[in-house]
């Protein structure tokens, strides 16, 4: 007999099979991801998700006998029937109850499996058309850098600390009185002198002494394993801090479901980015019509409201919340605003004022996404730019952390963050 321990063999042998399955189910998986985006909270974006897949995408048909026809059925566990009894057939849908082909028929119900965080994000990113570099950055769950942390007695050859090793070697050689080259040379010289003088006694003595010294040299190594020291590194998380992300959204009647979905993906993307960079990320939701309210996430995306549109109300509310709860010196502040661009023209001044005086100086980044409907062609050039767009455009300039972008499809969202990600890649 031969026992082999295979437990250490790599698992995940069927991973390639899984990838093939996911590729085949692409349409269903994308649909499931879209469903799950609208259903889940922003902060849950990177959890594993369960996907229900209807069986027709992955059915494996083969020739088999259907119901019907005459057959004989043998069953165990007869309790009361005798020959000639009649038993009513079960109604349609229960099948015929016979053993025929039932063991080879695969389960016909929809089939469920769990997408891992990576697989989910892959599909999520695909819609957003993120550059690969950015995808990689976002998927790393923690960022850490190796940092020096003293010395250790074990390590890899390339991290040997030569100076320290040599110093320890020297100390050891001194302590153990290892003869130096100078000692040997001197003795050899005296031996040569004695030989020249023909003093056979001292020749014998010196030769003896020399052999002893040589033996000592041989016995005490120049560098011993105990001398070797390695530089030790520890993986330290990158400097982390806390961040707060403000989601600002216009919820007046002109925002439809498509726009809200775009807005949600936009907030999720920013959240993923922040989550990777900061250990703690707080999210504040502020929605506004003609007046602003701080709400929880369900209300934020959920219940509709009617009213006019006053953007400044949300901005000044954000400024108030910042001042009250998120002091600039201990929080990194990010704003993400989604709107269809409508605003009262009388509000223009107050918007500009709040932005320049309160929000822009306090924040790391202000991303404004103007969401539109792919079917409406009302805004495509700058001549038809919205009220809010024109107001913000005046504020932009070098060094101002304000990015703005219009999007009608998910693929266009990323542009608004381009600067943010580019900066991160360099830093």
């Amino acid at each position: 007999m031969n026992v082999i321990d295979r437990r250490l063999n790599p698992t995940g042998k069927s991973l390639p099979n899984r990838q093939r399955l996911l590729r085949r189910l692409k349409a269903q998986v994308r649909e499931a991801v879209a469903r799950s985006i609208s259903g889940r909270k922003i902060a849950d974006i990177s959890a594993d998700t369960e996907v229900q897949v209807p069986v027709d995408g992955i059915g494996e048909p083969f020739f088999r006998k259907g119901a019907g026809g005459d057959r004989d059925i043998v069953l165990p566990g007869n309790k009361k029937y005798v020959k000639g009894d009649r038993i009513a057939k079960p109604t349609k849908g229960d099948g015929d109850g016979g053993g025929q082909a039932s063991d080879s028929g695969e389960g016909e119900d929809a089939f469920t499996f769990t997408l891992s965080r990576d697989e989910f994000l892959d599909v999520f990113f695909e819609d957003l058309e993120l550059p690969d570099m950015v995808k990689r950055q976002l998927k790393q769950s923690t960022a850490s850098v190796p940092a020096r942390a003293g010395f250790s007695v074990s390590g890899s050859p390339q991290s040997v600390d030569v100076t320290r090793t040599m110093r320890r070697g020297m100390a050891r050689r001194l302590a153990m009185r290892r003869p130096t080259v100078k000692d040997l040379d001197e003795l050899k010289k005296r031996l040569a002198e004695a030989e020249a003088a023909g003093d056979s006694d001292s020749v014998a003595k010196l030769t003896e002494e020399l052999t002893q010294l040589r033996r000592r040299v041989g016995a005490i190594p120049w560098i011993d394993p105990v001398d070797v020291r390695y530089r030790r590194f520890e993986q330290r998380p990158q400097p982390i801090a806390q961040a707060v992300m403000f989601c600002l959204m216009d919820v007046s009647g002109s925002m439809n479901e498509h726009m809200k979905d775009l807005a949600k993906r936009f907030f999720m993307l920013l959240y993923l980015f922040l989550q990777r960079r900061y250990e703690a990320v707080e999210v504040v939701f502020i929605r506004h019509t003609h007046e602003a309210r701080e709400v929880d996430e369900e209300t934020f995306f959920g219940s509709p409201e009617t009213g006019g549109t006053l953007v400044s109300s949300a901005l000044s509310m954000a400024a108030d919340v910042t001042a009250a709860r998120f002091p600039v010196d201990s929080w990194n502040i990010y704003f993400a605003q989604a709107s269809d661009g409508d605003n009262m023209s009388t509000d223009r001044h107050r918007v500009a004022e709040t932005m320049t005086n309160a929000l822009l100086p306090a924040c790391q980044y202000f991303a404004y996404l103007e969401v539109g409907d792919p079917h409406s062609d009302s805004w495509d050039g700058s001549e038809s730019a919205s009220e809010l767009w024109r107001t913000y455009q005046k504020l932009t300039g070098p060094g101002v952390p304000l990015a703005m972008r219009r999007a009608t499809t998910a693929a266009e969202i990323f542009e608004v963050f381009r600067d943010l990600f580019a900066r991160d890649a360099v830093g």
Binding site: M1, N2, V3, I4, D5, R6, R7, N9, T11, G12, K13, S14, P16, N17, R18, R20, L21, L22, R23, R24, I58, E60, P61, F62, F63, R64, K65, G66, A67, G68, G69, D70, R71, D72, I73, V74, L75, P76, G77, N78, K79, Y81, V82, K83, G84, D85, R86, I87, A88, K89, D96, G99, Q100, S102, D103, S104, G107, F111, F113, T114
Partner: protein, 509 residues
């Protein structure tokens, strides 16, 4: 005698000791004859991996295995389904996978069950001997995995997948039920593959003779093919029951590598065919063997009462047969019926009743239980074993009942129960349920329109009005068309009257 182990933890030393004790009983007292054993310890994750590829240690890649894996994993994680304690592969040496989560008693049981029970059956049963090559299977699996991987590299994953999908759909129609397969070594297999590839590129195919200006020598003979490299006469020998074989050899639409992939699927289907035919006997043999061995270990004082009770608990739940009106009922439990019949053979051989003497005059009271069983394990498959060895006592114990389900009647009629006149009926009827060739529909290639549009004609011989399931039939037919490349017709014909019941067509695109 001292105990082999105590407590539930296992380690490699205990495993070795137990194996030696089990081996002594299996070979010495039960007289089993086994392939050399190789025991591999794996984790539950690896067990799931092995599940998804039909228990084979290596297999080519296909999405359907990913699907199986995802399904098993979900069921396992949610606790709907436990994992088997072991998987055993019909190979030489015989590989048994055992899980690290098992207790020492379970490992003992698994060694007895798989490494001796299944192993003996694989080595001695005539169906396996005739149809599978235990020594070559692992090499062949490695070859097929590499071959499919190379094709994926060269032709693209999608192209390979399309062929595999179609071939998988025809797996049950891809076995030779009556012809004997010659054994070939891997080296021969490789040489033949190379030869086929070069040959296929310039292949002469009877269908191409319909193209004007083709080989005169052939058309002169009126469609009779010339001697081929293969075996001298690769003619369209119709009817042909092995659809995969027919398509591999004769499809006008396939490229060389596609034929090879079909061949791989076909050979694996053939490899599994004996397992489908002997599922009940195989499990019965293994269960009987582990039961005997565990009992003897306990009698000899090699395992303690606690371990023996743990074994009994597991054993009884394995051989439970729920009644047909029980919600847990899902067909006959092969472990239950197999174990009951094997134990009954032992009883008949050693302590027969008068009834047994009447029914089994040749074995009743011969006193050699193990010898009789070894004979049974070697010579029978499920169908013939039930037909000849299902005794009245087992029928009574299981309370078997036979129902007649006539399509035109709104009720089942009880045709036989466990009484004197019913035994033979029930026995014959149950035996038919185990006849795979009857469970699978009988479909043959009966014609090819060589002179016209190359239409392929398949015929399903309908027995007792049992027609094909229409939905899966249409989908599967589309796969046949994919492999054939031209229109395919499937006719359903009554096997007795010859009347055509229906005809479906998958048209060439």
């Amino acid at each position: 005698m001292t105990l082999l182990y105590e407590g539930s933890d296992w380690n490699f030393d205990k495993l070795k000791r137990v194996y030696d004790a089990v081996e002594a009983i299996a070979l010495g007292e039960l007289g089993l004859d086994v392939y050399p054993n190789q025991i591999e310890v794996i984790t539950s994750e690896q067990m799931l991996d092995a599940y998804s590829s039909n228990g084979l240690p290596l297999l080519y890649r296909h999405w359907s295995f990913g699907k199986r894996f995802a399904r098993d994993k979900t069921l396992y994680r949610k606790g709907y389904q436990g994992l088997a304690y072991e998987i055993v592969i019909n190979s030489d040496p015989c590989i048994s996978y055992i899980m690290e989560e098992n207790s020492m008693t379970m490992q003992t049981l698994v060694l007895a069950h798989a490494a001796f029970g299944h192993n003996h059956f694989f080595k001695n049963n005539h169906v396996f001997k005739q149809w599978t090559d235990a020594r070559g299977i692992l090499d062949y699996l490695a070859f097929s995995r590499d071959f499919v991987a190379r094709c994926e590299e060269k032709e693209g994953v999608e192209a390979v997948e399309a062929i595999l999908d179609a071939a998988h759909a025809l797996q049950t129609q891809g076995v030779n039920r009556y012809k004997r397969r010659q054994k070939r070594s891997l080296a021969e297999e490789l040489a033949r593959e190379r030869e086929r590839r070069t040959y296929m590129e310039s292949i002469w195919n009877p269908l191409w003779t319909t193209v004007p200006g083709s080989d005169k020598r052939v058309s002169a003979k009126g469609g009779k093919p010339p001697p081929s490299l293969e075996d001298g006469a690769q003619s369209l020998e119709l009817p042909e029951e092995n659809l995969l074989y027919f398509l591999e050899k004769n499809s006008p639409a396939l490229k060389g590598w596609e034929r090879e992939i079909i061949r791989i699927v076909r050979i694996l289907a053939q490899y599994f065919y004996p397992q489908r035919q002997t599922k009940m006997m195989n499990e019965g043999c293994a269960t009987f063997v582990h039961y005997e061995i565990m009992n003897r270990l306990h009698e000899k004082g090699l395992i303690n009462d606690g371990a023996f009770l743990e074994f009994l608990h597991s054993h009884t739940s394995v051989i439970t047969q729920p009644d047909f009106d029980d919600p847990r009922y899902s067909g006959m439990n092969p472990y239950a019926l197999g174990f009951a019949m094997m134990s009954d053979v032992k009883r008949i051989a050693t302590a027969p009743t008068d009834e047994d003497r009447r029914w089994f005059p040749d074995i009743a009271g011969n006193g050699d239980a193990m010898g009789t069983l070894r004979q049974v394990w070697a010579d029978y498959r499920d169908e013939s074993f039930v037909l000849q060895h299902l005794s009245p006592k087992v029928i009574r114990d299981f309370h078997l009942i036979r129902l007649r389900d006539a399509a035109h009647l709104p009720y089942f009629e009880v045709a036989a129960i466990h009484d004197d006149q019913g035994y033979k009926d029930i026995r014959a009827s149950l035996a038919q349920d185990y006849e795979i060739a009857r469970v699978d529909p009988e479909i043959e290639v009966t014609g090819v329109d060589l002179l016209g549009d190359r239409k392929l004609i398949l015929e399903h011989y309908v027995h007792k009005g049992q027609r094909l399931d229409a939905t899966t039939m249409k989908k599967t037919l589309a796969y046949v068309r994919r492999l054939w490349g031209y229109t395919v017709t499937l006719r359903e014909t009554d096997a007795i009257s010859g009347a055509v019941l229906s005809s479906d067509e998958a048209k060439a695109s």
